[in-house]
Amino acid sequence: MSKLLSIRLVGILVGVFFVLAVLWAFLTGAFAVIQEGELKPATAEHEFHEHPNQYAWSFDGPFGKWDTQQLQRGFKVYNEVCSACHSLKYVAFRDLEALGYDESQVKAFAASKQVPGVDPQTGEATTRPGLPTDYFPSPYPNAVAAAAANNNAIPPDLSLITKARHDGSNYVASLLTGYREVPAELKKEFPDFALSPTGHYNPYFANLGLAMAPPLTTAGQVTFDDGTEATVEQMAKDVAAFLTWTAEPQLVKRKQTGWPVLIFLLFATVLAYLSKKQIWAAAKRKDD
């Protein structure tokens, strides 16, 4: 008994120790806050950062589907604009068949790209036309070359970009259409705020200064095969849709698999509930 009592006593002492330590930290922090006069110093990044615009996507929602026309347009934007700096290394040419291209189109497109290869005669590193099984080649031979060509800001691989950012599809579309002049209000409120010399003001980017120069600048920069008018917003939305597909090619299949699973489970759960009720009916009775 006395031993148990001592466990409680030690417990209380240990508890008081932790409580005092954390309250000490609290008081130190509170003191600092009182001295500074505010909880959190306001920053331009905090005040002027904007959440992505909410666009309507064909793949949104539990019944979402790809708009293959849009994916093809987005692919064209990637191919003609983004691919100059951004790789797409987890996507193979063969995957493009999911966008509605047939085998020969995929083969022809793959062959139009040069991928790293080996000279069969000399063994030297060289390039060769791509095959459907090859992956999209990187525009730079390595990370150092990528950094050197871009003021030390390595253009990220785009395969997973919409999954690697919060609200990714909206983020990509917003970012591509979000370039503007530094707002006058910002300059007034934060006179010290300065973009880095290579930065471009974009409120959708976390620190407001995006190293990438506006890639989509003029309507008609890309000519869409389906006749859709290539406004900057249209191109941005289409390439965001394409990059949503590259990040999660199984998105539609996933949702389509989900429905039968949930419907079956609902049915099975109702059965399980009725069966449980039946079995328990007798046990709930007071007299039998």
Binding site: A92, F264, A268, L271, L274, I279, D288
Partner: protein, 190 residues
């Protein structure tokens, strides 16, 4: 009262009686649903072990056969397995055609094993049909066995100049994969 509840419940609700009542039907349905669900889960669990998309996509190979001299062979790779492409000399063609097909373990003529107009171009898998070793004879200086074709050193199977099994434990001729000439000098396998 407590006693009756205790003794009565297990009998009325616990054990299955003979004859199907509503209760039994529900239980059977619920257990069957669980069973069906369990079976449905087996499908992805099994099919995940089948070749993945990248493996399936890589299953065609192009081979340039222009540089193969008569009597020589090259090794290529098809589905991560060796592929032998051999240009036969006229004597080798003669040897292959001089055999009575009926006497073979796996009767096939050279015509059946080559493409029309390319009787000198023997394309086979470099995989012994016995237990999957790579036969010798494709590279310069390797033994070609008693019949001048290929020889598998693992268990002593001899193949002739048409890649047909002639002696040893292998049950079948060297497999001829599906292929076609996309031009006079290029074949596409698979």
């Amino acid at each position: 009262m407590a006693d009756t509840a205790a003794t009565a419940t297990p009998e009325t609700a616990g054990e299955t009686d003979t004859g199907i009542r509503r209760r039994d039907f529900l239980d059977i349905a619920a257990v069957s649903a669980a069973g069906i669900g369990g079976l449905a889960v087996v499908y992805p669990l099994v099919s995940q072990m089948a070749p993945s998309k990248d493996v399936l996509a890589a299953s065609s190979t192009e081979v340039d056969v222009a540089s193969i001299e008569p009597g020589m062979a090259i090794k290529a790779i098809f589905r991560k397995q060796p592929l032998f492409v051999r240009r036969l000399t006229p004597q080798e063609i003669q040897m292959a055609e001089g055999v009575a097909v009926g006497s073979l373990r796996d009767p096939q003529t050279l015509e059946e094993r080559t493409k029309e107009g390319h009787k000198d171009m023997l394309v086979t898998m470099g995989v012994c049909t016995h237990l999957g070793c790579v036969p010798l004879g494709a590279a310069v200086g390797e033994p070609r066995g008693e019949f001048g074709g290929y020889f598998c050193p693992c268990h002593g199977s001899h193949y002739d100049t048409a890649g047909r099994i002639r002696k040893g434990p292998a049950p079948k001729n060297l497999e001829v994969p599906e292929y076609e000439f996309t031009s006079d000098t290029v074949i596409q396998v698979g």
